[in-house]
Subunit: 427 residues, 2 copies
């Protein structure tokens, strides 16, 4: 499945010893993956880590596979990936790995597949923990076992992805369709389906969500990331304090005070328009993911309107949901065709927490793609289109930071992961 020419096990002289040691180690230590955006990290995320350890053991190492500088809703992350990763390891996560960009800018299916493939590529992850509204793993797994080809058929008939998945799931479990009205259940189904499809030896577990609903505006001790983003963009950063672990809040305020955050699409409207206006409908078709005419609507909207939100509003219909349009525009701006593989070519380490070194040591033996910890290692990677794209995309993100002092390019080759050994479990 992966290009294993970098697989350290295969090429290591003491291969059998390592396989033995790996097996031994697996019985001693559990490594649990979490897929997240941490945009920004809040109390609900810390609660998820704590509950995960509660279910599978307090010594479990938690590895987050986190969206980089661009997030699944088709937007710039509010704080850059290094700082968001640092927030996480200061509040209970042991290692943060970057989710490949094509996965971060995909629908739930591609997002989950890229994330599970990243965990699988580490070669040592034993569990995957995800939040869900229902908390019923067996039911989610049953729904995940539905016929994927049925989804394709429903999609082809013009249904949205969510509706297509619902129709397909209902044929397996008539009551399970209701699961899909909740976004975390949907993602959970996709994680389980990806584990099955990729045939990986990773055990899914679920933590029932107990905070504000995803995207909820309501404030709470465990608020939604969306509510926090609104507060931040409204300049009410202090109001976020209650909803975030204290060290994560400190990272956030320092980023804002220095002018590194908040980044958002509004700052980059002119930059995005100046690129998008160069693209013909045929160019746009490479990014929209479907020959259903969306490219023509986008082409007109890009000329007629003067901001990304206005373009989205003009192009949106029942047939073309907002998230798809936002992702298509961002994919076009980042020159990321829709058919780009979501699976990792290398694993970029963004932050290392208390037990992260141990996990990295293990990955040194089991990883199926190169692991990039220090930027100097990146130089050893072959100069691929993927690598150039990831470096460019970070340079484009830099231009969305409020202070020009952060606009310098080249961070992809310069920035080292944040490292801490301090245990700081917020919940």
């Amino acid at each position: 499945m992966y290009n294993t020419s970098y697989n350290i096990i295969v090429h290591h002289p003491a291969q059998m010893y390592n396989i033995y040691r790996g097996f031994f180690w697996r019985t001693l230590m559990k490594i649990c993956g979490i897929v997240a955006e941490y945009n920004p990290f809040h109390n609900g995320h810390a609660y998820h880590c704590a509950k995960t350890r509660g279910q599978i053991g307090d010594e479990t190492a938690i590895v987050a596979v986190m969206s980089g500088n661009f997030v699944q809703r088709g937007d710039f992350a509010i704080v850059d990936k290094y700082r968001r990763a640092a927030m996480a390891v200061c509040a209970g996560v042991d290692l943060v790995i970057e989710l490949p960009l094509p996965a971060a800018l995909s629908s739930a299916e591609g997002f989950a597949r890229g994330a599970v493939a990243s965990l699988a590529a580490m070669g040592c992850v034993t569990h995957l923990s995800f939040g869900s509204e229902c908390g019923d793993l067996a039911r989610i797994r049953r729904a995940a076992a539905c016929d994927r080809s049925a989804i394709r058929e429903h999609l082809a008939s013009g249904q949205s992805y969510a509706a297509a998945l619902q129709s397909a799931v209902e044929t397996v479990d008539p009551d399970a369709g209701a699961l899909l009205s909740s976004p975390n259940n949907t993602l959970g189904i996709e994680y389980c389906a990806a584990i099955d499809a990729l045939g990986c030896d990773i055990q899914p577990i679920t933590v029932q969500r107990d905070g504000a609903a995803h995207d909820s505006e309501q404030l709470h001790v465990r608020p939604s990331a969306s509510a926090l983003r609104h507060l931040i963009l409204d300049g009410k950063v202090d109001a976020c304090r209650e909803g975030m672990p204290s060290e994560a809040f400190t990272w956030l305020t320092q980023a804002i005070d220095s002018g590194a955050a908040p980044a958002h699409v509004g700052v980059c409207d002119a930059a995005m328009l100046s690129y998008l206006r160069r693209l013909s409908p045929d160019d746009l078709l490479r990014f929209t993911g479907g020959k259903d005419g969306l490219q023509n609507r986008l082409f007109d909207a890009i000329r007629d309107h003067t901001s990304i939100p206005d373009i989205c509003a003009a192009a949106q219909t029942r047939r073309y949901p907002l998230a798809r349009i936002r992702r298509a525009l961002l994919r076009a701006y980042l020159d990321l065709p829709f058919d780009t593989s979501v699976e990792p070519r290398y694993l970029r380490v963004l932050a290392i927490g208390p037990r992260g070194r141990e996990v990295l040591r293990q990955m040194g033996k089991t990883a199926q793609v190169p692991v990039v910890i220090k930027p100097v290692n990146e130089k050893r990677l072959p100069d691929t289109a993927d690598l150039r794209r990831d470096a460019l995309v970070d340079d484009l993100y830099a231009l969305a930071q409020p202070s020009r002092a952060f606009w310098t390019g080249g961070s992809h080759f310069r920035q080292s992961p944040y490292v801490t050994n301090k245990e700081n479990r917020s919940v």
Copy 2:
């Protein structure tokens, strides 16, 4: 020289009558071309029109060939091309035609060649009037007759264009080299050389400059355009009143008050950087005009610096003069390769003054390329790369206007020329 398939004379049934009428008309009316940027139009420009009429007759129609939205110093024009053209026809010019973009973003030689080719393509221009510091036409024409191939040799040996021209001119007229320390003399030499090279029947005349020096900061009743731009960018628009014809000043203040001006590179830094960072050194080479390593300096500067002025300052050396760097960056942003032809594929009319209609009527019979007056006519042009580029470039200019209300695209296909019949000779 031109594609004459649009030449109305050739296809007209009453061909002989028209040739006769054209000949007759030429004896009656003089049409004098002026090459300008009018960035913005000031008293010196009005003085030039008045002196030109003083030399060749008060009834002379004056046609300005004017840079569009981007100007020769490698910058965005401070006010858009339609408003700058309107300023000109309110203050003594009879017709404003747009200089082809590749000429506007060329060194003096390409700029002059594109401008003279545009006047020649009108088919009815009798004179070309230019300002010069020396006011000595005979001497300028002697200098223009120098060996152009000698210039190429000096350029190849690493001299700047100005130095190469000076060396070549000095071999013809030992004293003439001194002419070239004055920028308007240099342009005058290039106009005369272009008239000779293109073999056109246009009579050059010169008006001695009597205002502040080009690029001078000193304020004056006839200030430099550069001094006015500095005042405008500093927010001291009222201080420009004395230096501009009153109607031109009204156009300027209305543009600023509505948020359509001032446009400048600073507003578009993020947009330019977000595009320039996508280009490899090989990509940049297409825009720098010389395999002398400038592309590598630019590539590094584009990553290391966070504004266009900083990038220019970092890349500039004695070998790579500032204007060349600014034009290379703007050419790259506008996707305008260095080897693009400077000659017009069509003539775009930007504004029509008192006698402009008469000139247009004449052009209807003599023009050697299509003349575009109303945008609807543009639709009749073949959908060429040139046309798409000119439309895109105006959409990119729109994004540099201060108010988002002016960011809408498509002006190239929507905007009609400003028309006035009011005689308003300011000087």
